[in-house]
Subunit: 94 residues, 2 copies
DNA sequence: TTTCTACTTAGAAGAATTTCTAATTAGAAT
DNA sequence: ATTCTAATTAGAAATTCTTCTAAGTAGAAA
């Protein structure tokens, strides 16, 4: 739940890709798993870590479990990065 | 050198603390190591990873090795985070 | 040129992470 | 109630990461 968890969560490429997939709209676990050359169990493990970090939330519907992105958790990370002083002026802040 | 390396680098609390220490001014390895309950060898290992990720650079002076922060590497990370859409409007962008 | 200082590299141990298979759960459908 | 579907949990194997001790290196000092 702290910045440490957020950063640990996004240090893995599979988990970043999951967040990318959920950017446009929420998706059920199966649909997410289908995007990877990994077993559903493994993807479920990654979903659990993302959920623990607060980056996604789950919602049951029929017998699917939909996952939603929660990007607001990144605020703390952003503030830390900015506190270090960003040298190269990224143009698009938002 | 890619975002993947940056995120891996900052996923460790020791390495984040090193970046914090270098925020104000560059410091020699020994002075950095002194801040941790770790051997100099271990801190050197963390410095190597940060260097490989491009987050710090080294500079010899006398027989000290000074490390400098290079926060511009964060740009790619920032752009990715913003691409996910930050929910909670952090007020201070810069 | 030997010695000393500041630090790194090598190699190994221990810990944590990622992945799999197999078994289980929760709810929907029959 | 049984079965089927979607997904998770448990447990183990493989890999990666963190840390240490011991040995090495680069340059300064003597």
């Amino acid at each position: 739940m702290a910045m440490s968890d957020t950063l640990k969560a996004i240090s893995d490429p599979v988990r970043r890709q999951i967040l990318n997939l959920l950017k446009s709209e929420s998706k059920p676990a199966g649909e997410i798993a289908a995007q990877f050359a990994l077993t559903p169990a493994t993807v479920s493990y990654h979903l659990k870590l993302l959920k623990q970090a607060g980056l996604i939330s789950e919602r049951r519907e029929k017998n699917f479990i939909y996952y939603d992105l929660n990007a607001s958790v990144f605020e703390e990370v952003l503030n830390w990065i900015y506190s270090l002083g960003i040298g190269g002026d990224s143009d698009d802040k938002k």
